[in-house]
């Protein structure tokens, strides 16, 4: 079955530390991959997307992700996090007429 798997449900990290949020996709999914962020009481916002081309994609707020076909991964990274990055992060893929989201990773940035 097509899916994306987010390996960590929660990631606590100190401010200004680097962070990696992990996402693996099943090889049968399309290669349209996304990361979205959800701040409290808001809808989801696009962070970045991979459609084709360069495997390193840069998004908003200093985030980037690398598409790795051999490892079927699309991990999200930021070299130095801020308190304001505390949010829920969702990896997603599109298939047919829908976008399917992973279970989410709660990033909690501590001072």
């Amino acid at each position: 079955a097509q899916s994306v798997t987010q390996l960590d449900s929660q990631v606590p990290v100190f401010e200004e530390a680097p962070v990696e949020l992990r996402c693996n996709y099943s090889s049968s999914v399309s290669v349209y991959l996304f990361w979205y962020v959800q701040y409290p009481n808001q809808g989801l916002q696009l962070l970045l997307k991979y459609l084709s081309g360069s495997t390193l994609v840069k998004g908003i707020n200093g985030f980037e992700a690398e598409f790795n076909k051999s490892q079927t991964s699309f991990h999200l990274r930021k070299p130095s996090v801020h308190i304001s990055d505390t949010a829920e992060y969702f990896c997603a893929y599109t298939g047919g007429f829908k976008t399917i989201f992973g279970a989410g990773t709660r990033l909690f940035v501590k001072a």
Binding site: S30, Y32, F34, Y36, N41, Q42, G43, L44, Q45, L46, K49, L51, F90, T94, G96, F97, K98, T99, I100, F101, G102, A103, G104
Partner: protein, 114 residues
Amino acid sequence: EPEVTQTPSHQVTQMGQEVILRCVPISNHLYFYWYRQILGQKVEFLVSFYNNEISEKSEIFDDQFSVERPDGSNFTLKIRSTKLEDSAMYFCASSDWTGGSPLHFGNGTRLTVT
């Protein structure tokens, strides 16, 4: 920047009642979606809509659900005979094409069924 707007932000209803959740997608978008997020759980796909008909729907989207685009701007989700387990955040989204086009989400309607 254009936004997807949803009304109301919070809806409380009694079990068995009908509710209509409203959305105004971004004006030049062609694809429309409803998603559901039960508190603390994942974002679940309900239905996609294009060219005035359902393109795809999930197993959740059973006969108690329906969608409509009654005019050129609104996109609605109707839930007939609500159940307690329908309590969730309902998000509307739109995109200008399918496949690799990202979704633009509204801020959601929190539905509470008592």
